[in-house]
Symmetry: D2
């Protein structure tokens, strides 16, 4: 079958035929036809040879790329309980180490050993291929009302994890407002890529006041998306943010983007680090450390997601699809055929929010 | 009565007579005779004129210094329920703003408005005086078995808060070991001052493996203290730490002290910022940010303590006094008379762990 | 204006004109035109004179009935920030005591003093009238996509509170399944009234396996509703439940309904008590107590909801409206005019799930 | 070696020689010399043949009795890290199923499968024998200062678990007092046996107001113990309790003991079921169910303990030994030789709080 294949840690990508036995479906497995893949920075990092932790499955020389996915079940094993032919599904990316307490209880996003594998990233073939077999336990059922936007579920799941973690960690004190809601809280998101917009959506639909920051003016689509969810969009090069910040989310990975904003943090506030990049450094002063101490500021890095985070994401997609008609669809700025994938994997299309490979 | 008085934000300190009406005890108040005060960096910061947030009570020109305290009740108001004459007490330092949800529920350590006052620091006279009147609700009862070490309770309370907050925030996943304890976890404490040693004690008595770091060799007393609690002491200038770190606590305030250690942090680990200082800066790279993201690292600054943290501290003091005989007493390296206080407030005595002013 | 008025604790209800100054809108208030009210057992309990805690506002002889509500803003005060004319809103029922920590932080559903008031129930006029003025802080914004089903929000809010409390309390151990989801957990709901169905919906959309119990066969509507959400419906008089139970929810208030099922509870399971009634007793044996102990069983009674629970309910309504088309509409089995309200308040219409008074 | 042996589920007990290879110490194991065993109701239940779940180890006909234990290490395997010859230890009773998430992460007290074993109770030989070999991971180190009272650690561990669970579950709202402590909370404990007294101690040392209930007058020892910790002791047959209750703990297992007290429960209060017995029943009315609902009452049964609960118990024993001199020692009302064990296992000595078998 056709697949998009890389050779990490070497650079390059090609669309080629691979051998794959679509008949060897285990009792608790399903054969899945790929509908679409999303492309993100990690994919481009692998293709460019920069992501050094990327590796093929044990004993193999190449890796099928792709972790953002949407598929449809073609056939099920005899002991599959919750799925049937025709169901739309999203596959979970990370598979646990089988050793640590977190992986043994379905929280592989908090794997302690680092011995997990990730489909399309490290040690496990990904989803950029015509078909694949997967275990029932790794599949998320996609209700019919959101099939057209479900390609956003995998990136969303990581955002949901970070949000859920924020709510859990902030229980160190009373963080909600005096009316019991979060409508007095200001969430500021650095970056207006797909992750930034998904964070904006999740905080908006929890009634935070949301501001999206970038160092350029918004595109018309970004402006329309922000307007629909009731968020502000600020070009930080032109305008400074006027409010204090209760939760700051960095999706850029640049310390130079978030460190200058830390002095806007309210007491008991939180900073979520989500973005990853390299080749940059900023200064952190002892005065800033004192500020973090005196104000009980919390910070955490967040990566990956649990199955429950995917499931919560399914419900969020339904909410947003019907509350903000066409917003989610607008986030898909380009759809390409598998044969065209190398082009959009080598270079990011102009004005991209999310580029999607369609297999149908 | 005699008191140790400062004029913040101006520098200087003097021991002088002040006027104070020891008769005006309210129904729910007690008159307390000061037994001892501890001296910490905050006191010296006020005396040196460096702590710019320090201020006298509203409408006054000077401030009675002192927040670390131990006293004995001389007289009680008619509606005091839980205390009687002769009881030993420690007074809570921070008094809430009366407005935010945290202050209204006894968590003034998480005050949101910043409108709190702190005895001996900002807006409220402190405890370095012969006697003072305080409300019953701000008093912690000191059981007789620990009167001799209870001067350590106030600094300890802040350490207890940070520890309790760690345990609450780390509930974001399964952080305990596979046997249900914490004996597989490595706590590394930067700094061997009183706060560093109290952190070491709390983690030791919860069965973490504890390492104390400093950039010099330990003094004989520090070595003896570390040995008694079963902790390692490493001169980080001579030796590097061999283990990975599950919780790193900085009591120095120097980014140059903790940033080079962050690459030793385990997945899902935590960094507690507790120290405050100034006049220094370090670099934080995008690669380090990526590391924090990929490893779900948590960080928080922690300041002050709730009444429950003081109460937990009372129990810890009893445990440590009897488990490590003489350890806590060794932490008091110098005792001075009130008249000698200016000397030890202007300059830190050599080999100091904790210097105490004795009023009896 | 027209209103539905009761005289608690005396029985009776009448539709009559009341005096109400619709001009006296405060700066942070809004004037709201009533769209609809739902009727529940509490309303009928007041009308029948059985609910002895029901009382008029202080200094008044009668009470405007009605707590389930949906309205539309007609006018706003000058300092209203988040609402404008034309917005659809639901008003919160309970208003805090202004004294206890829970009420002071927006958690009046956990009021400690009992000095709260509840619109249409005790001490505060309710929403069964043409118009009313309310404070902005008590209003929930209803997005346009769910206006037609938002009359279900108030009863739903109480269900959301209980669900959120379950998830918080069950954090005493690892309760999720080995894949990180809840798809291995069986939720059994006693009762198929509106509350029972809303509990079924919330557990279904969190991927629990849901069984609805009643002591009669389901009506065609109930059967269709259960089928749509993927739940079983069991007539407990004819059939016993085959699975063990991880969470049992009683919406009946009858100990005879839930006590015989307790021996089906799994280890670490939970029982939520939600229903209230009277005039019945059942036996609890020491053997049953031993069973609860040996199996770490948790039980809690749950009443009322916070503003955040209402807001979560808004999102759930959007999910269910689009995932299960027509299901929520089917729950409204009868719509009456205000003039007809006494009929449906004195006696429950046959086949009722939810009866609604329409004011438009 | 000598051992106290039972044949569950048959009644009877004998002191006899058993065969046991004290040489087969694994690399991560230790050989332990028994110092003492405590006797509790479970032991007597097994001896009397009433505890039907008691069973010998797989493939054996008899069971060495005894789960409350204190021992001293005689020899260690080559890979034991944290213990050395001469260390005093207490062994954990329950060993996990190796299958469920809770057991796989050291929370076998919340085992989900029920396939655990318990030393001296079901499926695993107990500690009433001269010596035994155990895995390092199941051993709790006893600091020297509490060796004389450490026989109370195993029963205490179960009390600590229940207390920790209470504090976790009550985080469903703000339960602490307005000063941030628990000094406004009333804990009422039904029963003055060893478990009742340990609950009283734990709540006393957390500053709850504690009342101990029994249906008889206190013995002089009980009165002295209550007085030392500052608790009230009420003969519930003569006197009713005057305060409302924030947490009620039943150590009796009799529904007739706790059900009549439920109407004294405050809003948001909790009931901990800890006692187990049989042969009794009480009535629960729908009105009582309504009361539990309207007041958000929480209830849970609690059994067993994690390793962390044992470790917390070690710290509590140190606190209580030095805060209430001789109190813990007074709880041991009788010490017998192994040969005399059958007498005190068949019939409870008069005035017993805790009877101990001494092996040295």
């Amino acid at each position: 079958m056709k697949a998009i294949v890389v050779n990490p840690p070497n650079k390059g990508v090609e669309v080629r035929e691979i051998e794959y036995d679509v008949k060897s479906i285990g009792e608790k497995q399903a054969l899945i036809k790929t509908i679409a893949n999303g492309i993100c920075g990690t994919d481009r990092g692998i293709v460019s040879g920069l992501l050094k932790f990327s590796r093929p499955p044990a004993g193999k020389n190449s890796l099928v790329l792709g972790h953002e996915n949407l598929g449809q079940i073609v056939e099920t094993g005899s002991k599959v309980l919750r799925f049937k032919k025709g169901d739309y599904v999203v596959s979970i990316v990370r598979r646990g180490c089988g050793k640590c307490s977190n992986c043994l209880s379905g929280r592989q996003d908090f794997c302690e050993t680092g011995e997990f594998v990730e489909a399309g990233i490290r040690g496990l073939d990904g989803f950029m291929r015509e078909m694949f077999i997967d275990d029932e336990e790794y599949l998320i059922k996609i209700p019919s009302e959101i099939v057209d936007v479900a390609i956003l579920l995998e990136p969303l799941s990581n955002v949901v994890k970070a949000y859920n973690e924020l709510m859990q960690t902030q229980r160190r004190m009373i963080w909600w407002c005096k009316d019991g809601s979060y409508d007095c809280r200001n969430a500021v998101i650095i970056g207006s890529g797909p992750i930034g917009l998904l964070f904006s959506l999740i905080f908006s639909s929890q009634n935070f006041n949301v501001t999206i920051l970038n160092k350029r003016d918004p595109s018309p689509i970004e402006l329309e998306i922000a307007r629909q969810m009731g968020a502000n969009f600020i070009n930080i090069k032109k305008e400074s943010i006027s409010t204090n910040i209760d939760v700051l989310i960095d999706t850029s990975g640049h310390p130079s983007a978030f460190i200058p904003l830390l002095n806007k943090l309210n007491k008991n506030s939180a900073l979520i680090l989500f973005g990853t990049t390299g080749g940059e450094a900023s200064e952190i002063t002892a005065e800033l450390v004192t500020f973090l101490v005196e104000n009980n500021v919390l910070l955490f890095g967040s990566v990956n997601a649990s199955k429950k985070d995917f499931e919560d994401g399914v419900n969020f997609l339904t909410v947003w699809k019907y509350r903000y008609p066409s917003l989610l669809n607008k986030m898909v700025t380009k759809v390409v055929k598998p044969e065209e994938a190398p082009d959009v994997l080598y270079a990011k299309p102009k004005g991209e929010i999310k580029t999607v490979i369609s297999w149908t």
